[in-house]
């Protein structure tokens, strides 16, 4: 048996798993990655924007060879009600430092690229196999059981995504609660490069990211997003699951109505939908973090709840990559000591605490609570679009500006405005 034993087995060839596997293999550890999809990325979807910094640290200038779609240089945020929208627009040239850039990506190709990197470094990647269970002896994880076979390792890294059934079985990961997650749906809509450049004011490799608050998530916590790819746009929305009993519209209907909104429709006109995807997003922040280390096992990425809803975007991919890196470093150090106990592997936790991962999780700890306020998705978008409507509608004598704005503020309530403004500032 022992000659079959691996130094490390990684479950899941997503961004967390592939990053960990690459670094482990590079350090000379015998590493096996097991992935249930037919290839790495086959099961994965995302909204579409990768903040480059954490991968840039591992592969400087990765975007020169990795299959990224476009470098995001246009940022838009719209407040939209049923028919109207007000948009904030920010444009900047591509950042000089590659670590400050962000890219639109598609996981099916991106994960394959990262997995190839891990393979080139010497990791073995076995796709098409679901890990069913873990081998646990005397409280220590010693390997995995997959397709009726046992495979042993000194250490197992669980990078199996938001529904970490294996982490739950071990008793480390609490079952994800509806309060701590959202469901995301997305369509890839094919358009020509020229159409995208014209509609979003882009040229060359530049792309746009566009967030929509209000109507897409039917007035509840969530929001719509649009990212431009080379020859398609990723259009989707997220919806906080704890409001599901309240809502009158189904999630697929929300996406359909969003596509038909007068602001969105012209953006995708004539495009054909080539894929429809869905996935849960962990959004609980600090409140949902599991026990991330035990004897012989570490948990990384979405499986560990390392994902942030920062209001204007969901961020999980850069955290998945950084946690995969931290997990690999802890395993490499444990291998040098020949000690794979919880205590030895706990350097993973301290590395996370000293990195942006936990600092950002801490910084945004109150944001999910703040964002879970229906005023954000109803009264405020209506207030802004209402003010705009009055400002830009001329029909006869004009009223003083103050008189036009006040009724809209009153409708939301001055106390609510002050309260939400105050809480908003405090939660970031």
């Amino acid at each position: 048996m022992s000659e079959d034993k691996f130094d490390a087995i990684v479950v899941g060839a997503g961004l967390a798993g592939c990053t960990a596997a690459y670094l482990l293999a590079q350090a000379g550890l015998e590493t096996l990655v097991i992935e249930r999809g037919n290839f790495p990325g086959a099961k994965n979807m995302t909204g579409g924007r990768l903040y480059a910094h954490s991968l840039e640290k591992i592969f400087p200038n990765f975007a020169e060879e990795a299959p990224v779609e476009r470098c995001i240089v246009h940022e838009k945020i719209s407040f939209i009600d049923e028919t109207r929208s007000t948009t904030l627009d920010y444009a900047s040239p591509e950042a000089g430092d590659p670590a400050n850039r962000s890219y639109s990506v598609m996981r099916s190709s991106f994960d394959q690229w990262l997995a190839e990197k891990a393979e080139d470094a010497g990791a073995s990647i076995v796709p098409g196999i679901r890990v069913d269970d873990l081998i646990v002896r005397d409280g220590k994880v010693c390997g995995v059981i997959a397709a009726g076979e046992e495979m042993e390792a000194d250490v197992v890294i669980l990078a199996d995504g938001v529904n970490s059934i294996l982490g739950e079985k071990l008793g480390l990961v609490p079952k994800v609660s509806p309060h701590h997650c959202a469901v995301g749906v997305k369509e890839i809509i094919q358009l020509s490069e020229q159409q995208i450049n014209d509609r979003f004011g882009c040229s060359g490799n530049g792309g746009a990211a566009w967030l929509f608050a209000g109507m897409p998530s039917a007035g509840y916590m969530g929001g719509g997003f649009l990212y431009t790819n080379k020859e398609s746009v990723s259009l989707g929305l997220v919806f906080g699951l704890h409001n599901v009993a309240e809502v009158r519209k189904s999630v697929p209907q929300m996406l359909e109505d969003f596509k038909n909104h007068p602001t969105v429709k012209p953006l995708i006109e004539g495009g054909s939908s080539v894929e429809y995807s869905g996935h849960v997003v962990p959004e609980g922040g600090l409140a949902m973090l599991p026990k991330m280390v035990a004897d012989g096992v570490l948990i990384a990425g979405d499986a560990a709840g390392l994902c942030l809803n920062v209001g204007y975007t969901v961020r999980g991919m850069d955290l998945a990559i950084a946690s995969g890196e931290a997990a690999a470093n802890a395993v490499i150090a444990a291998k040098e000591k020949g000690d794979f106990s919880e205590g030895s592997l706990s350097s993973y936790k301290s590395a996370l605490e000293n990195s942006f991962v936990m600092k950002d999780m801490e910084l945004y700890r109150n944001l999910p609570g703040f964002l879970d306020n229906t005023r954000m998705y109803n009264e405020y978008p209506e207030m802004v679009t209402g003010i705009m409507n009055d400002l830009f509608t001329i029909n006869g004598a004009s009223a003083p500006l103050r008189k036009k704005v006040m009724p809209h503020l009153k409708k939301v309530g001055f106390m609510n405005l002050i309260k939400d403004g105050f809480k908003g500032v405090k939660s970031i």
Binding site: R130, K175, E275
Partner: protein, 95 residues
């Protein structure tokens, strides 16, 4: 604005390998209607359906493996929720 969505058409463009006769998600016999209604609203693939006579239907083919129904009703009206066996299920060409 209020065009009724046809989810089946959307799923039609996806690539699936259905594990015939081996469902990875199963409902209990008589699911609580309130719990079922949550899944009718939340399942991105619209797989939890009620017909005109109020009969409920669920089909695991077309599942996007998003995990939503497991989180919402995993301990109420779902008897079984697993990922499909290796190689089966949805395969994203874009993601």
């Amino acid at each position: 604005m209020s065009d009724a969505v046809n989810v089946d058409v959307k799923l039609g463009v996806n690539k699936f390998f259905v594990d015939e006769g081996n469902p990875h998600i199963e409902l209990v016999e008589n699911p609580d209607p309130k719990e079922f209604a949550k899944l009718e609203a939340a399942c991105p693939a619209g797989l939890y359906k009620k017909d005109e006579s109020g009969n409920i239907h669920f089909d695991y083919a077309g599942c996007l493996e998003c995990g939503t129904c497991r989180i919402l009703c995993g301990n109420t009206i779902l008897r079984k929720w697993e990922y499909p066996n290796g190689t089966f299920g949805v395969e994203y060409r874009y993601g």
